[in-house]
Amino acid sequence: MPRIPLRKSFDIIKLAYHGCNNRPFFHIVLLKNISKRNAPPMEMLGTYDPMPNIYNEKLVSLDIDRIKFHLASGVSLSKPVEKLLGLSGLLPVHPMSYMTAKRNRQKLEEQAESEAANKKGEVEES
């Protein structure tokens, strides 16, 4: 029976889900790409709480020095981590962040237009 060839193994900084039901919480960890999601990490580099708190903030903590060191030593980054680092200012803003923002903006504009059109219609009717 043909066996699936082994995947190439390398170090990667990625998010590890450590929340519970309906309460996501992520650890930013250094792991092998082939290791399990919540495997004991080689190094923990920060946390990310995607749920906004009462001040409407999503809190992120990062060990910048260590991340710099790992970047220098050629560790790869997962996409969400790239986005977070882009927003934190260590790396340039990720293209997908720009794209999401653009899409959101378009959505808002469309909404505003439709609302304006609705209002216009209501005024004309009255």
Binding site: P2, I4, K68, A72, L91, P92, H94, P95, M99
Partner: protein, 223 residues
């Protein structure tokens, strides 16, 4: 024509559900996806028999923008990585230099300390050695004196003894002939044998042999 299902195709098509070949008659599935969740022999579900995944819609403007942004982003990240690497190596070099400097300073300090200690020990040792030499000399002098004393005592005693013996054994000139006479008279021959029963068998001079134990010349007789 059917393509052989090679390992590469097999794995590659993990994400693609099925590839159909339009042979004109009917669609034949060429490659099945790997369904890790299900046993290999389970057939495709009835509802999914002719399902083909629709490709994700791509907006050309967005795609173009993303392409440009991604190429710039990758270049930027690569340059940042390079910069960080250089910084790191610089840091390590600086650290090494500092370490070397510190090591040199430590070594110098240690050398000074050792020198000081050596000098201290050397002075102490010199004092001790001087004392030891003095003590040794004194001891030798004492021993020599003792030896000389003993030798002197011995010689004195010997002289005393000699004086005494001299007084007993000395033969003056007047008595010389007499002494010679007595010596000649008191000759004895010891060249004899003794049997088991105790009899004497005389040798060359039987007369002399009769004097078994020749009379010893006493000092008093001589003088």
């Amino acid at each position: 024509m059917l393509c052989p299902i090679t390992l590469r195709n097999f794995v590659k098509c993990g994400s693609v559900q099925r590839v159909f070949l339009d042979s004109g008659v009917k669609q034949v599935p060429l490659v099945n996806s790997v369904r890790f969740r299900k046993p290999r022999w389970l057939p495709i579900a009835k509802s999914k028999e002719f399902y083909v995944r629709k490709p994700t819609p791509i907006v050309p403007e967005e795609a173009e923008e993303l392409y440009l942004r991604y190429s710039k982003y990758r270049a930027d990240v690569a340059s940042i990585r390079l910069f960080l690497k250089e910084q790191l190596s610089q840091k390590s070099v600086n650290l090494m230099e500092e370490q070397e400097k510190d090591d040199a300073a430590d070594l110098k300090l240690m050398e000074e300390q050792v020198k000081e200690y050596n000098n201290q020990v050397a002075s102490l040792r010199q004092k001790r050695q001087e004392q030891e030499i003095l003590a040794e000399q004194e001891r030798i002098e004492k021993a020599v004196r003792k030896q000389q004393d003993e030798r002197l005592q011995r010689s004195l005693q010997a002289e005393k003894k000699l004086e005494q013996n001299k007084a007993a054994q000395f033969i003056p000139l007047e008595n010389l002939d007499e002494a010679i006479e007595t010596m000649l008279d008191s000759r004895s021959d010891y060249n004899y044998a003794v049997t088991n029963s105790g009899e004497l068998i005389p040798g060359e001079y039987p007369d002399l042999a009769s004097n078994k134990a020749p009379p010893r010349t006493k000092m008093s007789d001589v003088s």
